[in-house]
Structure formats: C-alpha cells, structure tokens
Amino acid sequence: MNTRNIKVMNRFDVTSRLIAKLKHEEAVIGGIGNTNFDLWAAGHRPQNFYMLGSMGLAFPIALGVALAQPDRRVFALEGDGSLLMQLGALSTIAALKPKNLTMIVMDNGIYQITGAQPTPAANVADIVAIAIGSGLASSAWAADEEDFERLVDDAMAASEPSLIAVRIDDKPGVGTTRRDPVQIRERFMHGLGVRDPL
C-alpha cells in the first residue's frame, strides 16, 4: 500500500470536517459500525442515513439515492473492511457515472469493532488503486486533514463520481447511533424531501 507519506487521521475528526462543509442538504450514508457511529456523533442531520447491518452496502445505497435525486450531492462513508465485501459496487458506480456521488473510505486495516483483527487487505492492497482499477479515475488518498478538505471541495464541484481514501487510526467510534431503523429511514426521507412528517 503506497501510503508512506499519508498521515494517519481520526475518523470522527475527518467526519466532522466533512459535515462542517455541507451547506446544501447533502445526503450522507454512514456504513455499518464505527463509520455511522461517528457520523451520528458529528451531529445528527435529517439527511443522514445510518446502516445497522447489510455490511458493504453504503456505496450501493448512496448510489440509489444519487440516481433518485441527481440534483442533490450524495456522500457515502464506508470502512475498508466493509468495502472489501462489495468491491464490485465500485465498477457498477464507475459504469453509471453518477455526477453527484462522493465515496469516502475510512481505512485502518482492521475490523476495529470486532476486536481489531487485520483485514485480508491490510498491508497488501491499496484501496485507491483498486478504485482506479475499477474505473473510478477520480480516486485519491487524502494526505492529511487539509488535503481531505480540498478533495471534498473538488468532489463537490466534480461532474463524475469521486472516491477519497483516508488512513485512520484504530480508535472506536465516538458515539452510538440510536438503533431505530424505521425512524432512521423515515427521517431520512423527510430530510430528502420525499415525505412530510405525519
């Protein structure tokens, strides 16, 4: 993995930096576990969706939202272990080329939440190289926090899907998402303007 000059960042900090940039009711899909725990901890927004299972589907769910609402920017936050379960989704997204989708991969090389076991990709595979090889030309490692913010700015102005990979530490999520799937889904639909509350 060609990450020697890449700073090890923190998931909650990086997530908070992303959320601080969102001014236009952008949708954010948080993958299973720590990824959505930190999205929750960064401050609930009506346009956030939190996965409580279906490991690996943050990018496909985000793709569906992006296809349904092409005028809304959609972000997806996914862990490296989760992405490894659904690498084919990268090619699907590359083929469909949604202009409004940005994928962020939080890569610590471990399944932190299950006991910090290393993933099979740790130390041998490069997420950005995989993404580029899958057809996502606009894929890059964030060198540090400032570079991450610059890449987010670029992605928000881009006319093709973007993937940003972030090396993160082994810290657990800061918060714990309230595990109420119906309420999560309903409030997300309100946030996207699909439905009005009862």
């Binding site: 299972g53 690996g56 569906g64 296809l67 659904q86 699907t92």
Partner: protein, 183 residues
C-alpha cells in the same frame, strides 16, 4: 421461449416479459438493477431498449438491493431481477436492511432448480428460497400462469409500496419455459 423471444420490445402483446415490463411502467418502477439469468434475457433486453427504465447489471444481488433501497428513500421506485441462486445470497440484506427499515423491496426471481433442472446445485439452492422467505414472513408468490401474471404482479407491487414491505415474485418455468438441458 422461441416464441417469446420474437416479440417486439416493450410489448404488451401478452408475452410474460411484455406483461412484466408494462406492469413495472404502470407502477412507475423505473430503476432496474439485475444479475442476469438466461430466462430473464428477453425482459432484460427490452428493459434496456426502453428509455423509461434505467437498467443495469450489478456484481451481486445484495448490491442491487442496496441500490433500490437507496432509490426508494430518495423517491424513486425500483425492482431487482435475479435467479434463484442469487436470492440465496440475500438473507443478510433482507434481515438487516429491507425488513427492519420497512423498504418495499420488489424482487423478481427466475426460478431455477425445478421442473426439469439439470444442475443438482441449482435444485438444492432452490429449496432454500421459500424457507428463507417464510422465516422472515415475507410476501411471495410463485407465478405459473400467464393469465394470473398481471394481476399478481400489479397487486403485489401496490401492496409492497402501501405496506412498506418486501415482496418476491417467483417466475416459475410453467410461466417462462424455464431453462432446459441443451448441451
């Protein structure tokens, strides 16, 4: 199948796939991710040819489920096409996404593994399908008759959407002709 494959695209000429296509359109279901199946080929071909639909292949069936779940939450309706062995990969996403989040997931499953199956593995995996559907108490129908296809499909789609619950429509070889040993 030879007759069915000669039908013009997107037709409502009475072929099973023409009826499915028209019923999808009538119910404003426009997003169709699929993992292909030989029997579904005329339906997939005609969906691709009709600009009303966004039709595309995914690498796995659960990926397709994620996509239509996201699209539903964003206000766009979709349906997933697959074969029996693909359904067998879905227990986790059904139990952790579609059912608990109350997503009206609409699945069309081309039924392999019965009525002339020539691959033992297909016949075994087919036997896992209805127990999985039953274990989650999911609405499902096995469609065997052309004259019942539109009614079952149209009503099931409407029920899925209004009750916010998944439905599996199993396209039996009695309806589609199925896939038979040919080599």
């Amino acid at each position: 199948m030879a007759i069915a494959e000669q039908q013009p695209q997107g037709s409502s000429d009475g072929s099973w796939h023409g009826i499915v296509l028209q019923t999808l359109k009538r119910n404003e279901i426009s997003l169709i991710p699929y993992v292909p199946d030989r029997v579904l080929t005329p339906l997939i071909k005609n969906l691709h040819a009709d600009p009303y639909f966004t039709t595309f292949a995914t690498a796995r069936e659960e990926e397709a489920v994620g996509i239509v779940a996201g699209a539903w939450m964003g206000g766009r309706r979709g349906a997933v096409l697959m074969q029996t062995s693909g359904f067998a990969t879905l227990a986790n996403v059904l139990a952790s996404l579609a059912v608990p989040y109350q997503i009206p997931l609409i699945m069309f499953v081309s039924e392999r593994g019965t009525l002339g199956e020539f691959n033992y593995g297909q016949s075994l995996v087919c036997r896992t399908m209805r127990p999985v559907l039953g274990s989650l108490a999911l609405e499902h129908h096995t469609i065997t008759r052309l004259d019942e296809l539109e009614f079952i499909t149209d009503r099931s789609i409407k029920q899925a959407i209004t009750t916010q619950a998944p439905v599996a429509l199993i396209l039996n070889p009695l309806l589609t002709g199925g896939k038979v040993f040919d080599k």
